[in-house]
């Protein structure tokens, strides 16, 4: 289903939960609504479902305004954060509920339910009650139940939040595959960027009720359009005083400019390890943390803290050691603007003379 949202607003009393959100979603896409908790993601999802009424703005499904349609008539499936399974019903009855409501024949219902049970790998559990299932199984039942009436749009509210970390990764992959196989337009809400990056075709970053940016995970990572997006996606440290970084001097002409630097923008090496000495600055290793597959290195450059990672294959650093640091690029922003800048000294300033 093609979805369009125009200038959507939602206020709860004085609190402006969603502010002027507009977006469009192509049929068959899997979208992740990503943002910090309390940012309005769930409100947007609930408004799409019809469980919440927008204060203003339009929600358009397939070119038809659905603002005034109740959730029953929107043709959506909704997977709740806590699954909201019917406790007094078996797995079978839970999945069959939407079909019974539609007054389908017993035969049709049995067929559809058994297809879904097969699809979700719940075979053999049809006659169990909800309290007899594990978290992962409950999530699959919720998914199957939402899909049973063949909705045009699937909405998932923090679908993995209630599942322990180990199974979560497994379920993510499973869900992505499942949604691809069914081919249904889907939107899910999450506050976990890894989850959004891994599962979604496209991510919408929501912060403080506003849609900050929409795009593929790669686009958002590579080209964040607002400081909020830049700091929310990936790891980063903010450098207030960019004078300490070498190679970004042109940015100094804009007053109040700060730099956001990701660990992967930084290259470190013992003196001599880095080729472009002229572009690098000296730093002290403040601390080292072992992170399983690499070292996380805390650096001090003139009292400004930077964070980067170092391969385990390279020579081990010691706290207090002097190193050279090359900042390849920085995400620069001030009150009016934001842009990505490559280290200007990386290009050898005097290539002709050599």
């Amino acid at each position: 289903m093609h979805i369009e949202v125009r200038n959507l607003n939602k206020s709860f009393g004085d609190f402006h939960a969603v502010q002027d959100v507009s977006f469009e979603i192509e049929k068959g896409h899997l979208i992740g609504l990503l943002g910090p908790s309390g940012g309005g993601k769930t409100s947007i999802l609930r408004m799409l479902a019809g469980l919440e009424t927008p204060t203003s703005g339009d929600i358009i499904f397939h070119g038809k305004r659905v603002n005034d349609l109740p959730p029953q008539e929107r043709g959506i499936g909704f997977v709740f954060q806590n699954y909201a399974l019917f406790k007094h019903m078996t797995v079978y009855d839970n999945i069959a509920f939407g079909l019974k409501v539609k007054k389908q024949s017993k035969e049709q219902i049995r067929e559809r339910v058994s297809t879904l049970v097969e699809l979700t790998g719940l075979k053999g559990f049809e006659h169990r009650y909800v309290h007899q299932l594990s978290g992962g199984q409950r999530q699959r039942v919720a998914f199957a139940r939402a899909l049973a009436p063949e909705p045009q749009l699937l909405l998932l509210d923090e679908p993995f939040a209630a599942i322990d970390a180990k199974i979560r990764t497994e379920l993510r992959t499973w869900l992505k595959e499942m949604i691809e196989r069914v081919g249904i337009t889907s939107i899910f809400v999450t506050h976990d960027q890894d989850e959004a990056i891994e599962v979604a075709d496209e991510i919408m970053i929501i912060g403080k009720g506003r849609l900050e940016q929409k795009g593929t995970p790669w686009e958002i990572y590579k080209n964040p359009q607002t400081p909020f997006v830049a700091s929310f996606i990936g790891e980063s440290t903010i450098v207030e005083d960019i004078k300490v970084l070498k190679g970004f001097d042109t940015a100094l002409s804009f007053p109040g400019t700060k730099a956001l630097i990701r660990p992967e923008y930084i290259e470190i090496g013992k003196p001599g390890e880095i080729r472009l000495q002229s572009a690098s600055v000296n730093a002290t290793v403040k601390a080292l943390h072992f992170r399983g597959s690499e070292w996380m290195v805390e650096l001090l450059v003139d009292n400004v803290k930077l964070i980067t990672y170092r391969s385990l294959e390279k020579e081990v650093l010691q706290p207090g050691e002097q190193v050279s640091v090359l900042v390849h690029r920085a995400y620069l922003f001030n009150d009016n603007d934001s842009w990505i800048m490559e280290n200007s000294l990386k290009v050898d300033p005097m290539p002709i003379h050599i």
């Binding site: 469980l51 959730p71 909704f78 709740f80 399974l85 019917f86 939407g98 409501v101 009650y129 939402a146």
Partner: protein, 291 residues
């Protein structure tokens, strides 16, 4: 259960106390003592009196027992009691479900006061209840006059008995339903809506099944209590034998006229009935697969 709000050391101390208590309770003699005390309590206060009633009822043999309960006044009193108690229970199931629902689901000024008023019938002496009904609905009162103008009587007729029973058993269903309603997850309802179910359908297929155990146990208690009501009813019923004489009042009358065997015979009927209800409800609830 210990919540972890205490300081770690206090908690450790608490655990030590618990474990030493556990050791104490685990000792054979303690466990034996506790069990015996409970059994004794149960036997002295419940089993013996019941056996007493049963044996008293057949103390003069089975023929007088049969004569006692086949006395038209006796069985009519029992039947009337059952009939009116059933009506009162049905009224309370409907009203109680609705009131419980409103008190949990809606926020309005005065809700808390109303909620605490629900328990009033438990606290009030039943004779006061009877007097209240008499004064409010009796002859000379506004409602009483209005009713008699419309051609029906309340006080000293069956409606008054039902009203007394409803009043006395009022809190049972409400109090049994409320905790279950509070437990219901709002998102279950929303899930039902997104699956296409109307509000009515959602109420009956999603909400009501969750409330049902409360409704059943509340109704059962209300019915048993209504069967047994004496104080409120005796003041308003008129106690006309065969017409508005209920079982409890009949038993009282039999005792007054020095016929304990007759009283016991009718008591046995009521008691047996209560047992059957209790057993049936237990059976229904044990078949329910969900906790």
């Amino acid at each position: 259960m210990f919540k972890c709000q205490q300081t770690p050391t206090a908690r450790a101390d608490g655990l030590e106390v618990i474990s030493s208590m556990n050791v104490m309770f685990r000792s054979k003699w303690w466990s034996f003592g506790f069990r015996s005390a409970i059994m004794l309590y149960f036997i002295v206060l419940i089993v013996l009196p019941i056996i007493g009633i049963y044996s008293q009822s057949v103390s003069k043999g089975f023929v007088p027992f049969w004569e006692s309960i086949s006395d038209p006044l006796a069985w009519k009193a029992v039947l009337l009691t059952i009939k009116l108690a059933l009506i009162a229970t049905v009224i309370n199931v409907l009203l109680g479900t609705m009131i419980g629902w409103v008190l949990i689901r809606y926020r309005f000024p005065g809700r808390r006061i109303l909620n605490s008023l629900v328990d009033l019938p438990f606290a009030l002496p039943t004779a006061v209840t009877g007097l209240m009904i008499l004064l409010l609905l009796g002859p000379g009162s506004f409602v009483g006059e209005l009713a008699s103008k419309l051609g029906f009587e309340i006080v000293f007729h069956q409606p008054a008995i039902v009203i007394a029973m409803v009043f006395v058993t009022f809190p049972f269903v409400i109090r049994a339903v409320q905790p279950l309603l509070e437990e219901i997850d709002k998102s279950e309802e929303e899930a039902s809506y997104t699956l296409g179910a109307t509000k009515l359908r959602t109420f009956f297929s999603v909400i009501y099944p969750s409330m049902l155990p409360g409704v059943i146990s509340g109704a059962m208690l209300a019915f048993s209590r209504a069967l047994a009501e004496f104080g409120a009813v005796v003041l308003v019923a008129g106690n006309i034998p065969g017409k508005t004489l209920i079982a409890a009042v009949y038993i009282f009358g039999e005792i007054e006229s020095d016929n304990p065997q007759g009283a016991a015979a009718v008591s046995v009927l009521l008691l047996t009935l209560s047992f059957i209800i209790l057993w049936t409800v237990n059976l229904i609830q044990s078949r329910r697969p969900v906790k």
